[in-house]
Subunit: 343 residues, 4 copies
Amino acid sequence: MHTVSFGSDNHSGAHPIILKALQDINAGYWHGYGEEEYTETVQAKIAALFGPDARCLLLMTGTGANVLALQSLLKSYEAVFCAETAHINMHEAGAVQKFTQGRLIAIPTPDGKLSPKLIAPHISLMTDQHMSQPRIISISQSTEYGTLYTLDEIKALSAFAKDNNLLLHIDGARLANAAVALNCSFAEMTADCGVDIVSLGATKNGCLFGEALIFINHPDAAKDAVYYRKQLTQLVSKMRYLTIQMETYIDKGIWKENALNANRMAKLLAEKLSEIREVTITQPVYVNAVFAILPAHIIPALQAKYHFYLWNEHRNEVRLMCSWNTSEGMIDSLVDDIRSLLT
Amino acid sequence: MHTVSFGSDNHSGAHPIILKALQDINAGYWHGYGEEEYTETVQAKIAALFGPDARCLLLMTGTGANVLALQSLLKSYEAVFCAETAHINMHEAGAVQKFTQGRLIAIPTPDGKLSPKLIAPHISLMTDQHMSQPRIISISQSTEYGTLYTLDEIKALSAFAKDNNLLLHIDGARLANAAVALNCSFAEMTADCGVDIVSLGATKNGCLFGEALIFINHPDAAKDAVYYRKQLTQLVSKMRYLTIQMETYIDKGIWKENALNANRMAKLLAEKLSEIREVTITQPVYVNAVFAILPAHIIPALQAKYHFYLWNEHRNEVRLMCSWNTSEGMIDSLVDDIRSLLT
Amino acid sequence: MHTVSFGSDNHSGAHPIILKALQDINAGYWHGYGEEEYTETVQAKIAALFGPDARCLLLMTGTGANVLALQSLLKSYEAVFCAETAHINMHEAGAVQKFTQGRLIAIPTPDGKLSPKLIAPHISLMTDQHMSQPRIISISQSTEYGTLYTLDEIKALSAFAKDNNLLLHIDGARLANAAVALNCSFAEMTADCGVDIVSLGATKNGCLFGEALIFINHPDAAKDAVYYRKQLTQLVSKMRYLTIQMETYIDKGIWKENALNANRMAKLLAEKLSEIREVTITQPVYVNAVFAILPAHIIPALQAKYHFYLWNEHRNEVRLMCSWNTSEGMIDSLVDDIRSLLT
Amino acid sequence: MHTVSFGSDNHSGAHPIILKALQDINAGYWHGYGEEEYTETVQAKIAALFGPDARCLLLMTGTGANVLALQSLLKSYEAVFCAETAHINMHEAGAVQKFTQGRLIAIPTPDGKLSPKLIAPHISLMTDQHMSQPRIISISQSTEYGTLYTLDEIKALSAFAKDNNLLLHIDGARLANAAVALNCSFAEMTADCGVDIVSLGATKNGCLFGEALIFINHPDAAKDAVYYRKQLTQLVSKMRYLTIQMETYIDKGIWKENALNANRMAKLLAEKLSEIREVTITQPVYVNAVFAILPAHIIPALQAKYHFYLWNEHRNEVRLMCSWNTSEGMIDSLVDDIRSLLT
């Protein structure tokens, strides 16, 4: 346990209102596995945030949501394009390949963002029965570098996808952070841009655990996904504890309040760090991540007090993540300590 | 939501002490994914209940624990023997096949229990490169019929397994109920009987969610399982909420208290039902399940008031499950209503 | 090498005309992987034997054809019903599970034949998200017991399949033997009976290697299968050597001539054996297999001279397979030796 | 059918001696599936070419050999490093992922060759339970660009592999061409360099079909591979036709004679082309491939007469493959036609 951590937004706990909701739903006997009206209603409510024809399934982990998303739309001889830095490529221990038996094509990018231009050369090679066939583009919004796709960039990817008979998936582990940063609704960022399927994360942003998979359209795939979710071992027996979190997260505006705070704290941190001559901010700060190069000699002492990751040890680049309950005091304290260590 | 349910032990909520523990651990920043000392300690504590060399991994769902158990010890050309009624065969939507690509050999049984005699004929057919090779025997303790293996029966299976170069897995979704019914420790029922690997369930018996996989020995497989757990999407980011449940479940004796109540209520229910001439108990009641044949005409009215499953519609057999918070009042009420409906 | 073998019809060599055809096609340079007109033409010609909309893919092994058939039509959460004795269940080392990640439900039968009555009880259990969903019925024609489905029996299975939203697959490793036994065309036995997909074997019946997968309808699955065939590693580079075998097999009537001989020899063998008091024929002889109980004491000496399998050692039942080049002289010799050993 | 093709070495037919051998082995009855002494002997003979402890399994396709090689040594959470241009990455339709469920990490290279320097940065990222774990380096010898690893380069990769607990696989679809180019034995290029496992191709170099997988050591994996081969549907029933090809290929020196011719023809072609001012050779010619940039306007007319592939359409680079039966006359004719088209 750390008093403060900038290591990851999943180092923070759950919002008290979420925790309270767990208690409120504890009494009584409930059908398991979401086979009751309440879960149906909450899933429909979340789906409605993404569009009139959308369908939603709840599950427990972000990797689970990503794997289920791809499985629902992929045959094993088909391929998924993603950024080399994508969570599905780097940090899911090959779960996508394990479950779908399909191929990931990881494309190097400067900033974690894919584009039609980066994908097109790969497609041109995948012509006949000897090659996996292109099927899905998977992007992270916001990305693993804290960067963001603009709505126009998403639309461009979606148009490119349709031209090439591809589908577009968003890994939205931090979709709330992206939405408040772009000041748009979930629907405006997804359905209205032509996105096909979205992994919506809530765990990092104030839940104990809680993710949703949203099929913007593709009702047949959504039906398949009910069974694939069970095969993926992501179907929870005491579903009420998952459902109530997701409902509370959405209904009480926690998603927005929490994301706003995390983003605001990252902006604040970046501003303060940029005033320090010895520190270089390396990526634009759109959401809740700050990437910065620190003088090497202060990093160990700083890590002794605050938890955070050395992102690129060759150039002393660190990643500082803010979360829903990062406070101004924590930012001040961190910056003060950096200044002290530098003098 | 039902006021009372005999449908499943997972219809009940969480024990208040478990719920309270979630709140107590909410403050502060924690490393994710169990990559901290606390989870290591709790896993070691649970492992120690099964033997000095045992190792433990926490995960979220019972299906997850079973799939991970088999994956850790199985090659895809190998086969697992289980009862036809086993959860891994009937109620996991093929998750074992999906993940392991291996073969399940489902053997019909009268009471959900395997034996060397039932398995042997299958092994004799699996001789050469054309057949999947026998590798694991998987039994449920207690079984899906509420029956129990005695310690001697487990030992016999284990000896048979060793003679045939097989391993023995226990699906212990209700291992606590079995342990209190047999009045033995987890170690006495597993390690001391020669069992290799155990899925230990806690969800049904008073947690929100919480399962553990215990490698009695097989340290190499336990190391593999760390990675397979991630691939299975069962690695939780905010692990503390899982760890605290499992610790509380064990340390506070909740596992025992809850299992005792569930079993006691089932015994009570069976006793009272057996006094009713029109009702026939169809399986011996060892743990928390009562299987009974009711007169067909009273079932709809009874189901309107209490949730429970019609197990075998051809013979009007119902399954009545008791849980950790089933009360004598609920039993009395159910039995009274049956009597009323019969007159 | 054996001078004579009744062990399997794949113990025999290739028909001289097939072998000659290999030589005739050896000259010149050919596009690989069937990406030329000749293979397209031959595939179309074979498909036409099964119906006007049928499509055909060539491959090398019977297990390959079966796995590709099921993969093309199955999602991993779906299940295939087959007889417990089916080749896909017993003698493919779990290849179906390995490749498709799906579930096989093996149903005990007296004679290797499935029926709606045998399948129906399983379907009734597979209702919700916890169970694999029923999708395919797979039958062997002729069966592993040398028995045959009549056209009416196939039609009944097909009607049952349609009623239950299932598809019907035939493992036709010995389809030629079945066709000549029933005196019908391939189309009459498959498309006209409502079959969906057929594995057509030619290896056992006179080729070096050669199998075809026929989609009676399902053009989309047939397109998928082109890629799955490559993934299954069944796409041959020097395809001409496969194509010419299949063309010769069909065009020169080798399929018929060879199957007729094998069946006729089995009938002859059965007749002669049935005249021996100490021998009991245990299955009706429809095609090229004779199952018979021999006196235990003569089996070792007989096996020293002729290769054949002891099918059921508990009751001294042997399997005697005839092939396309089994001769009357071989039958006479075998029967004479049995008589000698008995005196 | 083409009179001449420079499209691929698999466009050529089979060596007459190989074809003759098929006829010679056609008589009599043989045990199927290699379950006889002859196949055991031939496998042992081939294995012996690679080292005293080597073991060999025969199979039918090169993709089959590669998939089986990786499956035998890989767990699904582990990863294989290969060049982006590797056959297993680009031209097997994802067969490796399909069968092994593991991860391929495709590394861009200038010439189709991996090196420790290219691999090391990837390993440094794969540290914990969130990442697939590094396990195998797979190289092609000769490569898809017609380039070659020197023995020292293989040794360097092997040493790097051992330092990092990795194994080294060679995709030797054209191993014979490499061996004669390097003027070394198979053992000198593999076992003596520390290689772990080798796919040995014979199809392209004069067989109808014929591949072998050689375990230099790893006897346990070799045992597993017997079953995985069956699961991969690569176990041939009439094995004699595969075995005799491989024996003849080795015993009669066909592997050497054929590879020498193919390489010699490619050298000759390159020499003659390099004399043409308008033509640029783009890769060094070590084995049987010539990569060359031709003036765009002559390509269509040339392709009308000779089959070959446009490798990189952006720079008019073509690939011209020579095979075991490419003749000087064919080379002369091609070069003459190029000259004519240029004037």
